[in-house]
C-alpha cells in the first residue's frame, strides 16, 4: 500500500495511529507488529511470509551470535548470511541471465535485509545486545514507515525509542503532519510531473539533441531527488506520528562540493551502512595484511571501488547499476587521491558545478538500460547530435526551469526553518499544499526506490 494513495492516507494511517496510541504501553510492540504486518500484507501474503521467515532466521542467528562460544558464533554468522543469500537470489532472478526464473522483487527486500543483517553484525561485534524477543525484532523488521524503502534504521536505535516514554502530544502531530504533507507534495507535485515530462525524451533517446538531453538528465536528477526525499519525508512524518525519530537521509546532495561530500549527503543511511559494515572492515583487513602503511592509498582506492560496486549491485544486478557503482567508485578513489596530492582547492562554486556535472553523468548510467543508450545521451549532452528542440516545444522546459529554481534541498538549516510553527500562516499553507497534492493523486505513480 503506497503512502501516496487515498486508502493509506485516509483509512490505514488513521486506523493504525488510533490502535497504536489507544493500546496500553505493554501492548504497543504487538500492535506495532500487527499494524506493520497488515501494511506489508498488501504487497502479498507470500511476501509477508518471506519477511517474517527472514526475521525468524535472524532471531535464531542473533541468539547464536551472542554466545561466547566461537563455534556457535560462527554458525550464527552462517545463519545470518542466509538473509543475504535470499537477497542475492531475488536480485539475480531479475537479470537477463536468469530470465526463465524471473520473479518480482519483494517490496523493500533490500532495505529490511540490511536492517536484519546490521542487527546480527552488531550483536556479533558486541555493539548491542540481541533482540530480547521475536516480537521486538519483528516489530522492527515490519516497521511500516520504513519497511518499503528505508531510511535504514539500527535495531538499538529503534528499540531505545520503542522502550522510551510514549505520549502523544501536539509537537509530534505537528512534526508528523509537516513531514507527511511536504513529502507528499514533493512526490506528486514535483517528482511525478517531472517524470511525465522526461519519460518521452528517454523513450526516444536516439533523437535527443543538446537541449533535449540536458533537460532529460536534469529532469531525471530532480525527479529522483524529489521522489526519494519526498518518500523519506513522508516516512519521517509517519514515524513521528508514532513517536519515533528517523535518521536524516538527505542533506542538500546537489550542493556537494566534491564527490565524497555528495555521498555524505545522498541516501546517508545507506552510505553509513556500507561504510560501517563493508568499507571500514575491508580496509582494516587489507591494511593489516599489508606490510607497510605506505600502500594505504592503493588499498583505499580498491576498497572505495569495491564498496561502490557493492552499492550499485545492492540497487540491482543489471549492467546499469554495476556501471553506476563502478563509475562512482572510480570518482571517489580519484578524489581521495587528489585530496592528498593536490592541495589547492577550487573555488566553492566551481567545485559544486563540477561535482553536480559528475553526478548528472552518473545518473545517465543509472537511467540507461544499455551502454549504447548511455553513450548516445552523453554524446547528445556534448552537442554531438545537434541542438534538439523537441523539449522546448513540449513545454517541459518551463516545468524543469521552475523546478530548478526551487531551493528545496533538505539541509539541516532548512529543516530547522521548516520546523512546525504554531502560526495560522503555516497551517493554511500546509492545508493548501495537502489539498493540491490530494487533487494530483489521481495519476499516482510508485516511488522509484520501491523497485530496490
Amino acid at each position: 500500500m503506497p503512502f501516496n494513495s487515498y486508502p493509506f492516507l485516509f483509512l490505514f494511517l488513521p486506523a493504525a495511529l488510533l490502535l497504536y496510541w489507544a493500546a496500553a504501553d505493554e501492548l504497543r510492540p504487538s500492535v506495532l507488529l500487527v499494524v506493520g504486518a497488515c501494511f506489508y500484507a498488501f504487497a502479498g501474503l507470500h511476501q509477508l511470509a518471506l519477511l517474517l521467515t527472514m526475521t525468524f532466521v535472524t532471531f535464531g542467528a542473533v541468539r547464536l551470535l551472542s554466545s561466547p562460544a566461537p563455534s556457535r558464533s560462527r554458525f550464527g554468522l552462517a545463519v545470518l548470511a542466509l538473509n543475504l543469500a535470499v537477497l542475492l537470489a531475488f536480485k539475480l532472478a531479475g537479470t537477463p541471465w536468469f530470465s526463465a526464473a524471473s520473479v518480482a522483487l519483494p517490496l523493500g527486500l533490500s532495505f529490511y535485509t540490511f536492517n536484519l543483517v546490521s542487527h546480527g553484525l552488531d550483536v556479533y561485534r558486541r555493539r548491542t545486545p540481541a533482540a530480547p524477543s521475536f516480537v521486538s525484532l519483528a516489530s522492527y523488521a515490519t516497521f511500516f514507515p520504513t519497511v518499503a524503502a528505508g531510511p535504514l534504521l539500527r535495531f538499538d536505535d529503534f528499540e531505545r525509542q520503542r522502550r522510551g516514554p510514549r505520549r502523544f502530544d501536539a509537537g509530534l502531530l505537528e512534526l508528523g503532519l509537516l513531514g507527511l504533507i511536504v513529502g507528499l507534495a514533493k512526490k506528486v507535485l514535483v517528482a511525478d510531473p517531472l517524470g511525465v515530462a522526461v519519460e518521452p525524451l528517454f523513450a526516444d533517446y536516439e533523437r535527443l539533441g543538446l537541449w533535449d538531453a540536458w533537460l532529460a538528465v536534469l529532469g531525471y536528477a530532480y525527479q529522483l531527488y524529489f521522489d526519494f526525499s519526498g518518500y523519506t519525508d513522508m516516512a519521517t512524518g509517519i514515524a513521528a506520528l508514532l513517536g519515533f525519530r528517523l535518521p536524516q537521509n538527505f542533506n542538500a546532495p546537489y550542493t556537494a562540493v566534491h564527490i565524497t561530500d555528495f555521498w555524505q549527503r545522498w541516501h546517508m543511511t545507506m552510505s553509513q551502512w556500507f561504510r560501517d559494515y563493508l568499507f571500514l572492515p575491508l580496509s582494516r583487513a587489507l591494511l593489516r595484511r599489508s606490510t607497510s602503511l605506505d600502500r594505504a592509498d592503493g588499498i583505499r582506492g580498491l576498497c572505495l571501488v569495491l564498496t561502490m560496486v557493492a552499492i550499485g549491485l545492492w540497487h540491482g544486478t543489471t549492467w546499469s547499476f554495476l556501471a553506476w557503482g563502478l563509475y562512482h567508485g572510480v570518482l571517489l578513489a580519484g578524489h581521495a587521491h587528489l585530496r592528498v596530492t593536490w592541495r589547492r582547492p577550487l573555488p566553492a562554486g566551481a567545485s559544486r558545478a563540477i561535482t553536480f556535472l559528475a553526478v548528472l553523468a552518473g545518473w545517465v548510467l543509472l537511467r540507461s538500460p544499455s551502454p549504447e543508450m548511455a553513450l548516445r545521451i552523453w554524446e547528445a549532452m556534448l552537442g554531438l547530435h545537434g541542438w534538439g528542440e523537441r523539449a522546448l516545444r513540449t513545454g517541459a522546459t518551463l516545468g524543469l526551469a521552475v523546478c530548478l529554481l526551487l531551493v528545496v534541498t533538505n539541509t539541516q538549516a532548512e529543516s530547522s526553518l521548516l520546523r512546525p510553527r504554531r502560526s495560522r500562516g503555516q497551517a493554511w499553507s500546509l492545508a493548501a499544499l495537502f489539498v493540491l497534492s490530494l487533487l494530483a493523486l489521481g495519476g499516482r505513480s510508485p516511488f522509484l526506490y520501491f523497485q530496490f
Binding site: 561485534r125 560501517d276 571500514l280 572492515p281 580496509s283 582494516r284 591494511l287 593489516r288 581521495a336
Partner: protein, 81 residues
C-alpha cells in the same frame, strides 16, 4: 602506558601520515574527522597503527566519529587497552 609518549606518537602519526603535513599544529581537542582533516578510511589506518604500535585492538564499533574525533579521545581509547 605513559600517556605522554602515546599522545606524541599518535600526534606525529596523524599529522605526518594521515594529514600528510608534518608541520600541522594539531591541538589535543581539535576535531579531526568532522572538520574534514581526515576521512573514515584514516580511522582504519589509525586502528592498524595502534594495533602494531601498542598491541591494542580497537573494535570496529569503536571506530566512529563520536568516539575518535579528537586526539584526546584517541589517546583515551588506546590507554583503555
Amino acid at each position: 602506558m605513559d600517556p605522554g609518549p602515546v599522545r606524541e606518537k599518535l600526534r606525529s602519526f596523524i599529522v605526518a601520515t594521515l594529514v600528510r603535513d608534518a608541520s600541522y599544529p594539531l591541538r589535543d581537542d581539535e576535531p579531526i574527522i568532522t572538520s574534514g582533516l581526515i576521512d573514515s578510511f584514516a580511522l582504519a589506518e589509525l586502528a592498524v597503527f595502534v594495533e602494531r604500535e601498542w598491541h591494542v585492538y580497537v573494535p570496529d564499533p569503536d571506530l566512529t566519529v563520536e568516539r575518535m574525533n579528537t586526539l584526546d579521545q584517541i589517546v583515551a581509547r588506546v590507554l583503555q587497552g
